[in-house]
């Protein structure tokens, strides 16, 4: 990494070689530190200094004496997380939904990409891609409005128009029945995000050298066979990276989806409460920052472990594809 000695200037013989190199190094690369400084400060503020605040999870904070002087209470703030019937539920919800999302993103994303690739009309494919990508740009607030337009129990499109057309007379009270949300949430999430994944997979597919297909066609392989044996294996690295990144976030739920779209309806909590919304409620509604910090820490630590473990597994399977 160090520049070769050949770059030293004449007349430097009096100074030892190493310091000369160092000097040269700082002269050359000092500016890099300057470049990185602003972003480092931001990181410090946003990410690293708050890590010190994790001690809140172990204290019973009294505002009049301040955080530092508040009494330590060990793991007491974590009790409510684990001693409750809800602890299991929020963990289950978070993991289950994310797992479903990952699988759907993969299958639907690859499927869409394959189909786009196979379509004859270039222009039509482009047009559909554009439309498919639109939901990605909408915010969760907007999507809440859209979903509300369908699910409003009295006057939404589903209850008023579509269901009666199918002969279902009794309107479903969408915002108080937890069951349906097991399907609504994945559908909405996929609808919003699939544009992103489909495009990435499509780009990867297009990057595959045509010669493989030509050779395969000559050998008489069917289109299906080609997809199975050429396309999929060759985009495997992309699939793995994307999936790994998602697994790393498997303990983090998309707050907008679970909080906004469900309109934070209490009756739905059985199937819609996830760790993020639980932390949020603990903080903003109850105001107990010790407990909600504990929940946040639980999430961060387990999430971290999961990333490490999944990366380790990938390393075993195919070393090159691992994140680190």
């Amino acid at each position: 990494m160090q520049q070769a000695v050949g770059t030293t200037r004449p007349g430097a013989a009096a100074v030892p070689a190493k310091t000369k190199q160092n000097q040269g190094y700082w002269k050359r690369f000092g500016v890099f530190y300057l470049m990185m400084a602003p972003a480092l400060i931001v990181l410090l503020i946003n990410n690293y200094l708050p890590m010190l605040g994790s001690i809140i999870a172990f204290k019973n904070v009294n505002y009049s004496v301040g955080v530092l002087k508040s009494p330590w209470v060990g793991l007491q703030n974590f009790e409510y997380l684990f001693n409750t019937t809800d602890a299991w539920k929020i963990t289950r919800n978070t993991l289950a939904y994310n797992a479903v999302f990952i699988v759907l993103n993969l299958i639907v994303g690859v499927a869409f990409a394959l189909m786009f690739n196979a379509m004859r009309s270039r222009k039509l494919a482009k047009f559909h891609q554009t439309a498919m990508f639109l939901p990605y740009f909408l915010s969760w607030v907007v999507i809440t409005y859209l979903v509300y337009g369908f699910l409003n129990p009295e006057i939404g499109l589903l209850n008023k128009t579509i269901l009666p057309a199918f002969g279902v007379q009794h309107p479903i009270d969408w915002y108080t029945e937890p069951f349906y949300w097991m399907f609504i949430l994945p559908i909405v999430n996929t609808w919003k995000g699939i544009g992103y994944y489909a495009v990435i997979y499509l780009a990867a597919i297009i990057g595959i050298d045509q010669e493989y297909y030509e050779a395969a066609t000559i050998d008489g392989a069917s289109r299906w066979r080609q997809v199975w044996s050429i396309t999929l294996p060759l985009i495997r690295p992309v699939i793995i990276v994307l999936t790994l990144l998602q697994i790393g976030r498997i303990f983090y739920a998309d707050f907008g989806l679970f909080f906004q779209v469900t309109r934070d309806a209490g009756a739905l909590y059985d199937t819609t409460l996830v760790i993020d919304t639980y932390v949020y409620k603990g903080f903003l509604v109850t105001g107990d920052i010790g407990m909600s910090s504990a929940a946040g820490m639980y999430q961060a630590v387990v999430g971290f472990i999961l990333v490490l473990v999944s990366n380790l597994i990938i390393r075993r399977v195919s070393k090159d594809d691992a994140l680190f």
């Binding site: 700082w26 400060i41 503020i45 009294n62 409510y80 409750t84 809800d86 009756a267 639980y278 109850t286």
Partner: protein
């Protein structure tokens, strides 16, 4: 071109640069603590200055109410801005009223105010955030039913009658005694007694009616139009309401016959007579209208369960707003919208007229009192003004609160606006809406100071305050009056129970889901420490009652 400087200098300069960056950040952290939100030119509270002032005879010239005690010489006090936070919708003409208040206040206590109301839907969230962020504020609305005890245990408010109180490193002493003499003189001792936590007061209760009675408020004009007036006058129970509401639904399909929301339905504490001994989120109640100090779960009260069934029936008949379980609209604001016929409400004499004027619909509302009159800590401590622990001048804050309890001009200015613009005087103490009434009508007089000083609207009974006194007399005292539950021993369980409640309460009590869900809720509570909480509540209550004997 080679620098003659030693390599260590280059390295040093880099280290210095990094150190500068680091110290800049640390300075922001540490020094930042001193940057307050409101202006406070003097570093230390003026406690020492004003302590000697309070003994001097009154020097203020402006008209104040009869009970103003020996007071404060404003010229000896440094200027200070008080941030006043209460729960209610922000008003358009706030700045104008603020300016008027400041004119007056400077002459009294050399202070200005920054009025900062927070609307109903955001109050809980914002309050928690502001407390967590140690936002500098001075006078804050609080209520026993709104997390008062919780906030006290977090150290968010200052004790007002603690002789050893210190603030900003200086001894401040008993604020109530020093600067709150008017409060002590005018407020029924039951209020302060009933609001104590561990022997200390952390808020000054509003001087208002002491008792509460549950009931409904409805649109009189619509009722008259539909010919329902007689039927409404005969209503005694909830079941009586049904045919009336059905008629409203039939004849006025665009109106919501009965507006419910979380906390405002047949099972509101004021309607079903549940004394929650503090935080209404934590199960474990004592019946206010009885004499038994036994703490039971809400599910063990047959009235509660009946109300669930009734609510469900009404909901299925379409009499209740479909978004009852999720709406964040307050009942008063719902009525203001114009398409609501009836809401639940905690009542006192003249509440209907008071509300009607507050939402600029004079004379359109009427109330029906249903159920017994009771007094519980929820009422005595149901509306208080606390002094935030982040206040830089608690003495001044107390002075302001004292003025709200004694200064007629100030109280009415804050509550009704500027004479001639927002209201017009009909006689000495009676007013009516002015040309710009809609621009300033906070409608929360019950939160701010001494209600007995308020003007009455011409649509209200002129002897409103006498009616209040009569209302208070003969009200049934809750067996737990004066007691507030300290949640610290069962903090974890309480947090869980609160979370569980948020899953079920709104949907169940508004009738949005089938009452059978209540069984699920109950078993969940039991599985998560309900019995422990009830036992603790009973234990503390028994100890409290023993001291009263």
């Amino acid at each position: 071109m080679l620098k003659k400087s030693t390599p260590s200098v280059a390295r040093m300069s880099l280290i210095v640069a990094l150190a500068l960056i680091l110290s800049a950040v640390l300075a922001a952290c540490g020094g930042g603590k001193d940057k307050g939100a409101s202006s406070s030119p003097s570093a230390s509270p003026s406690a020492s200055a004003s302590a000697s002032e309070s003994a001097q005879p009154s020097a203020s010239a402006s008209a104040s109410a009869s009970a103003s005690s020996g007071a404060i010489d404003p010229s000896k006090l440094p200027e200070y801005q008080l941030k006043v936070v209460w729960e209610g919708p922000p008003q358009k003409d706030e700045k104008a009223v603020e300016a008027k208040i400041n004119e007056y206040l400077k002459g009294k206590i050399n202070a200005t105010v920054d009025l900062a109301p927070i609307d109903w839907g955001q109050w809980d969230n914002k309050m928690n955030l502001m407390i967590a962020s140690r936002e500098a504020m001075d006078v804050v609305f609080t209520a026993q039913w709104n997390g008062h005890a919780n906030n006290v245990s977090k150290g968010a408010y200052l004790p007002l009658n603690d002789p050893n109180l210190e603030a900003g490193g200086e001894k401040v002493g008993n604020l109530l005694e020093q600067y709150g003499q008017d409060i002590l003189k005018t407020l029924d001792p039951a209020f302060l007694e009933g609001a104590k936590i561990n022997g200390l007061n952390y808020g000054v209760p509003t001087n208002k009616e002491l008792a509460a009675q549950g009931g409904v408020i409805y649109r009189k004009d619509i009722a008259d139009e539909l010919g329902l007036t007689d039927a409404l006058d005969k209503v005694q129970t909830v079941a009586d309401l049904e045919p009336i509401l059905l008629t409203v639904k039939e004849k006025k399909p665009n109106m919501i016959p009965l507006f419910f929301r979380d906390g405002e339905n047949f099972n509101s504490h004021y309607f079903v007579q549940h004394d929650y001994l503090g935080d209404t989120n934590i199960d474990g109640i004592v019946k206010k209208d009885g004499d038994d100090p036994k703490v039971i779960s809400r599910f063990d009260d047959p009235v509660y369960m009946d109300n669930l069934r009734l609510a469900r029936k009404f909901f299925q008949e379409g009499l209740i707003n479909k978004d009852a379980a999720t709406t964040q609209l307050g009942t008063q604001d719902a009525m203001k919208k114009g398409n609501v016929f009836m809401i639940m409400s905690s009542l006192k004499p003249g509440k209907d007229a008071e509300m009607a004027n507050a939402i600029t619909m004079p004379d359109k509302l009427k109330q029906i009192n249903m159920g017994p009159r009771t007094v519980s800590t929820g009422e005595t401590a149901g509306a208080m003004l606390a002094i935030s622990a982040t206040s830089k001048d608690p003495a001044r804050a107390m002075m302001f609160i004292d003025l709200l309890h004694s200064d007629k001009y100030l109280v009415n200015l804050l509550n009704f606006g500027i004479e001639g613009e927002h209201y017009v005087k009909v006689s000495d103490n009676v007013i009516k809406a002015g040309p710009k009434a809609a621009d300033y009508s906070p409608g929360v007089a019950w939160e701010l100071g001494n209600q007995f000083l308020n003007y009455t609207f011409e649509t209200e009974a002129p002897d409103k305050w006498d009616q209040f006194k009569a209302f208070n007399e003969g009200a049934h005292k809750s067996p737990a009056l004066g007691f507030t539950f300290d949640v610290t021993p069962v903090k974890s369980q309480a947090a869980v129970i609160t979370n569980i409640r948020s899953q079920y309460a709104a949907a169940l009590e508004t009738g949005s889901v089938d009452p059978s869900k209540a069984d699920e809720w109950k078993s969940k509570e039991k599985a998560n420490g309900l019995d422990t909480i009830i036992a603790e509540k009973q234990k503390q209550l028994d100890a409290f009652l023993a001291t009263k004997k």
